[in-house]
Symmetry: C2
Subunit: 307 residues, 2 copies
């Protein structure tokens, strides 16, 4: 297995180095970013490394320096890493955190990794998360709350559900995935008394998807969906918006959940935390999300290769 890791910014380099000291070294890891940040972090964690000019297929850890690019080094790393996976030089991309607001001040034109990768891969990604007990896919992601209702279209819902279904089958090997669709409104609209999106949009599209043979339940109220999922009755919950999906996921799985991008031509996983700048160098940053992200990427690569 050959992974490209872009450790990113803030605590990214140190959690990556710590994660690499824990995971199997029967893998070729290519780290892309500013060598002046990555190499000291690897040394600190006691991880041996070499340097390379492009993604390396050799077992162990090599560092590709992206700091001489026109772009900020963490952005150049994402671009180069995605390209390496698309070109077949590596099997999957694992990303650390970036400080989006700071990058946007330097001209970064994306909301984050996910939409940047969508553009680089000419695909329409679906943002999903997987933790210890819960998996969730989001129909909408980084929108102000008041824009959410208007963004729930039959087409977006269908794309999210179908993409989630395919990823569960192809990447996790679940043959008949059970998906559960959350309502948008409290109590899934309570029969129309608390909003009509469920009756007008979600119910018809869910019926259509069921007619296609998908194992989809709902729309049902989000509490019920997540309680079922936490009991292990559901393979993935499809949530309508960011907080509906991520608050229960994080409260159940704490730091262990992984941001998993579905619907790309490449395999991509990521930490689900930010740069946590105040923790840099304190030794208190938790590396378990990076460890989980690397582990999930390895698992998917092996499954797709039939290993």
């Amino acid at each position: 297995v050959r992974l490209v890791v872009t450790p990113g910014m803030g605590i990214g380099p140190e959690v990556t180095a710590r994660a690499l000291s824990e995971v199997s070294h029967e893998v070729a890891f290519t780290l892309m970013g500013a060598a002046t940040e990555l190499q000291p972090a690897l040394d600190e964690a006691g991880v041996p490394w070499t340097t390379a000019s492009s993604a390396c297929g050799c077992t162990g850890v090599c560092v590709v320096d992206t700091s001489s690019s026109d772009e900020p080094a963490p952005v150049a790393a994402i671009r180069l890493g995605a390209r390496a996976v698309m070109d077949g030089e590596a099997d999957a991309l694992v990303t650390g955190p970036i400080h989006k607001a700071r990058l946007r001040q330097q001209g970064f034109p994306f909301m984050g990794h996910t939409d940047m990768l969508g553009e680089l891969c000419a695909a329409r990604p679906v943002m999903a998360f997987t933790g210890g007990r819960l998996r969730v896919a989001l129909v909408t992601t980084h929108l102000p709350l008041e824009a959410v209702s208007g963004a729930i279209t039959p087409e977006r819902v269908a794309h999210t559900v179908r993409t989630a279904h395919d990823a569960l089958v192809d990447d996790l090997g679940i043959t008949a995935p059970k998906l559960m669709l959350c309502g948008l409104n409290p109590h899934a609209g309570e029969g129309g008394e608390l909003g009509d999106t469920e009756q007008r949009v979600l119910q018809p599209v869910a019926d259509m998807l069921r007619a296609e043979g998908l194992g989809l339940t709902g729309p049902i109220c989000a509490e019920t969906a997540f309680m079922s999922a936490a009991r292990g009755e559901v393979d993935m919950v499809v949530a309508m918006y960011h907080d509906q999906g991520l608050v229960p996921l994080k409260v159940v799985d704490f730091g262990r959940s992984v941001n998993w991008t579905l619907g790309l031509p490449i395999i991509r996983t990521s930490v689900d935390h930010g740069t946590a700048d105040s923790l840099v160098g304190t030794g208190r940053a938790d590396s378990s999300s990076m460890t989980s992200a690397i582990q999930l990427a390895m698992d998917i690569v092996r499954r797709r290769a039939g290993l």
Copy 2:
């Protein structure tokens, strides 16, 4: 301690009877509702009962039949029960589930118990929930999602936070409660890039409340607030809307959480589940939310009485 319990509809009578078979009988329980439903449920659970015409102060369980009222028996029970507590004939009101849609077809003009009790008590209630590890108060409750942003006013936020603070002090005996205010938008608006309600409304009102001496943190993103709360670092999370608060609560506390109405002149707790009509009579309805609701009401009564 003298409690009025309105078992309500659906599984309400049976979970109430089962809860009463578990909790201390050094309490006077007055059950109000349709005697033809309550008495068989009590018999089934092996709970001895007597009848009465009004709230009874004697230790044990008595039943007040409300089925000869002009209103549906479960609604008359709430009205009579609240009145009994306001008049000092009982110490607290504990309510079971009602089927709101069915009652509304019979002319019930409220969204649910909470607004009915607000009107009966001429007060402005705050809906809160307490579970094993989490407590949450809601700034808005049963609104379609698209109406939420417009309903987040400084005045509503301040009322919710102050009411929550006072309840934690008076009812739970927490001398300096730690409250955490969620943002409305994902990532609490991410510095204004995902909505401006945090900067325009929440930050100023939070600063004002802190200047009053309240132990309030935020606005911060909801994931962070609930993760802190699940680690025991927060006494109550103040959420902006229904699913933001209730999904994490239910997924952590499952069936054990209690609906707790703050800001009324009476003590009121409730189950946090519905009538679950399909479970009636199957023996599979879980009585733990009713048991917890009764227990919380007893605890608050005792604390206020200095027992």
